[in-house]
Amino acid sequence: MSEQIHTGEMTAGQAHAAAHGEAEHSHAGAHAGGHMVGYGTYFMVWLGLVALTAVTVTIAGIQLGSLTLLTAMLIASVKTALVGYHFMHIKYDNKIIKVFILVCLVIFLTFWILTFSDLSFR
């Protein structure tokens, strides 16, 4: 179960190499492992998160009616995006990872909209 292999688009040469147990480094294997990000960026993102938290708390005290929940969710979404993009290094990840995350977000949003289509019209 040692060496593991390839995608459907490999060349015959690669196939042969893989079949003989040589190390396989797929073209899609690039990742964010070695990427350096300065402290300045992290600090700015952190400041942004703190500021958005302050906005959330402030808005919670204002009577916005049915918009209260929507506003809170929008701010939380921006914060989640900041954390994911910078702290979790999605910014430097492969396109396929970004696509997967986007699919998950769209599905989550769909769950949310359909559930609230009940609550809002009940």
Binding site: M1, E3, Q4, I5, H6, T7, G8, E9, M10, T11, A12, G13, Q14, A15, H16, A17, A18, A19, H20, S26, I96, C104, I107, T110, F111, L114, T115, S117, D118, L119, S120, F121, R122
Partner: protein, 563 residues
């Protein structure tokens, strides 16, 4: 290879590595051994849940008390549901046959994360043990039904907490397996195996795995919230604390409706494997079937509200969910028509797996069409929470996934164990099972339409005739199942040796020995065509020996094959 035997010279059943005996199984990261360990666990729980089902039918033989008290009956139907759904139907085909066949069908030596694979089996067993322990501890077995609806599940004095914890742990097992399969399918396909050259079983597993990864966390969080409600009274669901019980139903069905597709999509994948093999013909509409799996998975996400039409949901939601529910019939219809078209003008060989598949198409069509009765708002109100619903989901779950599990057992049994079973007995058992199934569950449709409520311990005398008929059906069905497993067990012990390709299948698992060696292939094969081509070879099993250039070729395998 401590004993000097090369892994490719012996089958995975005989191979002895670092660990021997029982440890050689319990610590094995070989996908085939893990698949068989799942099979062992799943079969045990299937028989337990089947026994509970038979006891329920015995209780319903006459009105009033027959063999058990009302409270026992509540626990028995809860456990029957929890064990069947979480321990048998959801994991059966993906965890057993997905684990065993997926890497072989895509030309890989194992799944992407073998250790994680073993870990998911342990999670499954821990969840199962918790479910069993919950029977005998903390005030008795849960009595909420497998849906754990609030507010009753919050207030019940029975051991609901441990049963939900069991389902929570089982959910993690499911997520880990799904993740493993998604990565395996993306990263470990053999050279030349493009997306549209993958066997349709792999497509079914791919769609299923995405549902497992994306939907299962929702049930995990929801069940955790029930525990928080029970222990801390946080008030998310309990209306007495300002919570919303309908929110629980939303969250529960956001997972549990897609879970129906976790159950059925791999089963549909196996149908698409068996039909071309026994019709001796390429499958009709390969791409349409492959994409319809994704279509079912996608639309299946959006229809959960049809379980809640009478729960007090808004009218707008009811209309939206009803419309979306009808849309699922489209990709499902695509599959059914393509399967039937595959048989048309085929050179059909009637073997046991094909009998099961034909039974599946018949039964699943009834299950699917009665789903439309439940998906339409007006008719749903008449039959909600009656035996009609119970009949519908048994036709879909047992008639769909259960019958296909039996079909899969018969189709891949020679590959799993290297033994052949008695086909005549297998066909007789199949006939008995399909007859028994219909005698057991068809009366449910009639009783439900007449107004017999589900989960009731007692009933009016006018239903007794149908209940007696149904109970007789359960005896026929169980006889068929025992007969079938007896035949397979006998084959396992004393059956003749199976050849490499007993059915004339065209996919990769039929190109390796029965049972396969530890690492499946001597050399990773090269794929040059579609999976169901009968009149020419679409795999190069030893590319090194057969002239595929060793080094530096700039042409892709696809181009090479076209030359």
């Amino acid at each position: 290879m401590a004993n000097g035997t090369l892994a490719k010279d012996v089958s995975y059943l005989e191979y002895e590595g670092k660990h021997k005996g029982l440890a050689g199984w319990l610590l094995s990261v070989d996908h085939k051994r893990i698949g068989l360990m799942y099979l062992m666990g799943i079969m045990i729980f299937f028989f337990v849940a089947m026994t509970l089902g038979v006891l329920m039918r015995l209780e319903m033989l006459s009105p009033g008390e027959t063999i058990m008290k009302p409270a026992t009956y509540n626990s028995v139907f809860t456990l029957h549901g929890v064990i069947m759904v979480f321990l048998f139907i959801i994991p059966a085909i993906p965890a057993v046959f997905g684990n065993f066949m997926l890497p072989i069908q895509i030309g890989a030596k194992d799944v992407a994360f073998p250790r994680l694979n073993l870990f998911s089996w342990y999670l499954y067993m821990i969840g199962a043990i918790l479910a069993i322990v919950s029977l005998f501890t903390g005030g008795g077995a849960a009595d909420t039904g497998w849906t754990f609806y609030v507010p009753y599940s919050i207030r019940s004095a029975q051991n609901v907490s441990m049963t939900t914890l069991a389902a929570f742990v089982l959910g993690f097992s499911s997520i880990v397996t799904g993740l493993n399969f998604v990565v395996t399918i993306h990263r470990l396909r053999a050279p030349g195996m493009t997306w549209f050259r993958m066997p349709l079983f792999v497509w079914g597993l791919y769609a299923t795995s995405w549902i497992q990864v994306l939907a299962t966390p929702v049930i995990g969080i929801t069940l955790a919230l029930i525990m928080l409600e029970r222990f801390m009274g946080i008030g998310v669901f309990d209306p007495a604390l300002g919570g919303d019980p309908i929110l629980y139903q939303h969250l529960f069905w956001i997972y549990s409706h897609p879970a129906v597709y976790i159950m059925i999509l791999p089963a549909m994948g196996v149908v698409s494997e068996i039909l071309p093999t026994f019709a001796r013909k390429d499958i009709f509409g390969y791409k349409q079937i492959a994409i319809s799996s994704l279509g079912i998975a996608l639309i299946g996400y959006l229809v959960w509200g049809h379980h809640m039409f009478v729960s007090g949901m808004s009218d707008t939601s009811r209309i939206v969910f009803s419309l979306l529910t009808f849309l699922v019939a489209i990709p499902t219809g695509v599959k059914i028509f393509n399967w039937v078209a595959t048989l048309y003008k085929g050179s059909i060989k009637f073997s046991a797996p094909l009998y099961y598949v034909l039974g599946f198409i018949f039964i699943f069509s009834i299950g699917g069409l009665t789903g439309l009765v439940l998906g339409a708002l007006a008719t749903d109100i008449h039959v909600t929470d009656t035996y009609f619903v119970v009949a519908h989901f048994h036709y879909v779950m047992f008639g769909g996934m259960g019958i296909m599990f039996f079909a899969t057992m018969h189709y891949w049994f020679p590959k799993l164990f290297g033994k052949m079973y008695n086909e005549k007995i297998a066909i007789i058992a199949c006939t008995v099972i399909i007859v028994g199934f219909n005698v057991l569950y068809f009366p449910f449709f009639i009783m439900g339409y007449m107004g017999m409520p589900r989960r009731y311990y007692d009933y009016l005398p006018q239903f007794q005739g149908w209940h007696i008929l149904s109970t007789i059906g359960s005896w026929i069905l169980v006889s068929g199942i025992v007969f079938m497993f007896g035949n397979l067990l006998y084959a396992l012990l004393k059956g003749p040796k199976a050849p490499m390709n007993p059915w004339g299948g065209t996919t990769l698992e039929w190109k390796v020995p029965s049972p396969p060696p530890l690492e499946n292939f001597d050399e990773i094969p090269v794929v040059t065509g579609g999976p169901y081509v009968h009149d020419k070879q679409t795999y190069i099993m030893h590319p090194g020996k057969e002239g595929i250039k060793a080094n530096g070729g700039t042409k892709t395998v696809n181009q090479e094959a076209a030359l």
